[in-house]
């Protein structure tokens, strides 16, 4: 197309190389090469690969949870604490259930049941957030920030801020620790859930309504979209997915701590916004997944390089790459505006 030539040269090159829309892939490949050479034995091992795929699933799920309300231009900042709420409910229900039974391992039902109850509790809290946003007309940013703090209080109250290690049966832990086709099972769950969300967002009317609500809420309402229901529903969905993240976490790590969960909020949001600069250039599922793993493999590599005491690597890395990726994506936008002015 001749339009290519009209774009400023710098931006044209960005476009040709796909640096604007596919920077996460470049990043991913770059990390594999750099760290593969630098730390060949550790970084390129299948153990590292599996570990990284599996351990980032809760963050990835929270990112998907964040993505859905974001499509309607609402923010759900309660997903991190929602995850720990799910974790605490799942843990303490099983603990109570197994405590009274002489042989906890033979008692399977409470594991599944408590997981379902934990997810249902989160969905209910999400329903409450939706009520606050839609009916009480509180800005979603503020509403979910408030809900988040309330949840934290509940979690601390239930758990008494203890760490619990012996709550789960072996069967229960198997759900989170098995491998299928040589992949961590959590990663498989994650990809299935991502595919479902992708289908709903991109290939059903509901997805269209969600993005329409986010694009121009008044225009969507006047065109017959039930915008209130979309916002409300998206908050229930995000809470439910955060609940699932909590349950998966319990089955994977096998112990409870009130500190787990809230810390995932930033990496999750970073993956969504980085992901929104990828592929279709709006918040989207596969861009988010791509961004998540580009970031996490980079972090893993750096951790191996730095060695002990590498806690500071995660946030530094997430912050820097987020800024770089979004900046690369905006260059295209800037060029487009310049072109328009020139015309």
């Amino acid at each position: 197309m001749s339009t290519e030539t009209k774009v400023a040269p710098k931006a044209a090159m960005l476009t040709r190389l796909g640096l604007d829309r596919f920077s996460a892939i470049y990043l991913f490949v770059g990390f594999v090469i750099v760290f593969g050479i630098w730390k060949t034995d550790t970084f390129l091992s299948s153990a590292t690969f599996k570990l990284t795929l599996g351990e980032n699933v809760p963050i990835g799920l929270l990112a998907l949870a964040f993505l859905i309300p974001l499509a309607t231009n609402s923010f759900d900042l309660s997903i991190g604490s929602m995850c720990s709420l799910s974790l605490v409910v799942a843990t303490f229900l099983q603990r109570e259930a197994t405590a009274g039974v002489p042989n906890g391992r033979s008692f399977v039902m409470p594991g599944a049941l408590s997981a379902l109850i934990a997810i249902a509790v989160c969905a209910l809290v999400g329903f409450f957030s939706g009520f606050v946003v839609v009916k009480l007309r509180v800005n979603s940013f503020i509403a979910t920030l408030g809900v988040s703090q309330i949840i934290t209080a509940v979690v601390l109250k239930i758990s008494d801020n203890r760490q619990i290690t012996d709550a789960y049966s072996k069967t229960y832990l198997q759900w989170g620790r098995r491998e299928v086709f040589g992949l961590p099972i959590l990663f498989v769950y994650f990809i299935i859930i991502a595919a479902v969300i992708w289908f709903v967002l991109e290939h059903t009317p509901v997805g269209r309504y969600l993005f329409a609500t986010g694009g121009n809420v008044e225009a969507a309402r006047l065109a017959g979209v039930r915008t209130d229901r979309m916002i409300w529903g998206s908050l229930v969905a995000s809470a439910t997915i955060a609940g699932i993240a909590g349950v998966m976490l319990s089955a994977k790590i096998g112990f409870f701590s009130a500190a787990t969960g809230p810390g995932y909020l930033f990496p999750a949001i970073a993956a969504v916004f980085f992901g929104a600069s990828q592929l279709s250039r709006r918040p989207n599922v596969w861009g988010t997944v791509l961004a998540l793993y580009a970031l996490s493999f980079g972090i893993k590599g750096l951790q191996l390089v730095v060695g002990a005491g590498s806690f500071w690597v995660d946030p530094l890395f997430q912050g820097t790459t987020l800024i770089i990726a979004v900046a690369l994506a905006s260059q295209q936008g800037v060029a487009r505006i310049r072109k328009k002015r020139a015309a």
């Binding site: 289908f199 059903t204 997805g207 329409a212 694009g215 969507a220």
Partner: protein
Amino acid sequence: MGISLHIHSLSKTFPGQVALRDVALDIEEGEIHALVGQNGSGKSTLIKILAGFHQPDANYVVSMRGADFEIGSAAAAHAAGIRFVHQDLGLVEGVSTVENLALGFGYHTSFGRRIKWRSEAKRAKQLLLDIGFDIDVRLPVGALGAAERTGVAIARALQDVDQGVSIVVLDEPTASLPGADVDRLFDAVRRLKQRGISVIFVSHHLEEVFEIADRVTVLRDGLVVGSKKIGELTMDSLIELIVGRKVLAKSAQRSINEEATPRLAVTDLFGPGINGLSLGVRSGEVLGVTGLTGSGRDTIVGLLAGAIPRADGRVLIDGEELPNGNPRGALRRGLAFVPVSRVRNGLLPMMSVRSNLTIANVERNKRGWRLSHRDERHETQDWIAKLSVVTAGTEAPISTLSGGNQQKVMMARSFRLSPKVLLVDEPTQGVDIGAKEEIHAFIDQAAADGTAVLVCSTDSTELARVCDRVIVLYRGEIAQTITRAEGLTAEAIDRAILAGSALAS
């Protein structure tokens, strides 16, 4: 009395259009000078040139108290002593009068740049008293009445009056004011006159012009067609000057079954701007609705479509009542609606032409659980061809289209629902001539298909072109109905709008 502002040979050419042609205007000291004309007559261009927003063509003569000055910059207008109160007032509603007055002027401060709030408040109070408003200057401006807010805007424009303010331009100051507030505003304007300050008063309300103006200058199609003392004019002769003679637009020819019951029936409708309105539109008929801003013309479509909740009254389509304040409910009962100001109420800015077109009925292209993007593309392609929408394709972001083409997509969004009743609000606002005619042809087509169409517009030529019948609103009621049989021309509609007050009483 001397001449305050003298303008001669002022022209303004926009690409492809002459907005002002050899305008001459003299404003005397201490006079209230009304500037009137229809939309597009050039009066807002003239005001914008004075304000320094537009640069006029070369070879103009403008002098202030005999001294030439270069117009075309805000600073020059300010230095020459011209102050402006624009229609939207430009106030910040969340902060107090004192703070609004300081915008662009700054505060008086004492040691350490501490703002001297007390003396600032006193000064603000005095400024408002000078023009006849006794208000609490510490209240947020949003908490004040409409007239008081206008007062604050005037006070702000006049606060450095000692530096030689000689002209205040009031651009449609009464557009959003209820009757009683207009009187207060006029008292303030007369006080300015007593202080020897000239006022240029822009208004659509001719009865107000007769009430307050000393002189009237009429613009039509960029020309000054008359500048007269108010005593030399009557309502009729003034309307004649404003409207002039218009070429008869080509108009639709339709035969409507006069006996048929209306498809759209509205009884005793009350709501913002509307006071007990009843009307009916038959199948295949196009009803036009017009009136001044604030007459109810600007809210009627929103009220009928459910975008604005109605206070009372019933809206029926084929005998079925529409739920109140529920656009979706109205849509499901056969009402489609193209809202005014498409950027705010219509466009989904980040989305494609396809998504914008299909949003009012996405379900149609569902195949099982899945939404078929392919079927959507085919359908969108058909509409693009039918309405000759200029776009890079069905997947192009809607924001890449021109205004006229965006509007066509908005029309297609409604047409594709095959509605029983179609409401269109300002269908050709910000649309170029070519697209305009195509949109009009589509309104004809909708009527031919048996839809009852209601077109709300401020463009009389448009109404004369597409409508079978036009109602003119005044203060929320029907002031006059003009049918095709009685001679539905743009001129007749303009007369009815301008004379609305006389006919309503």
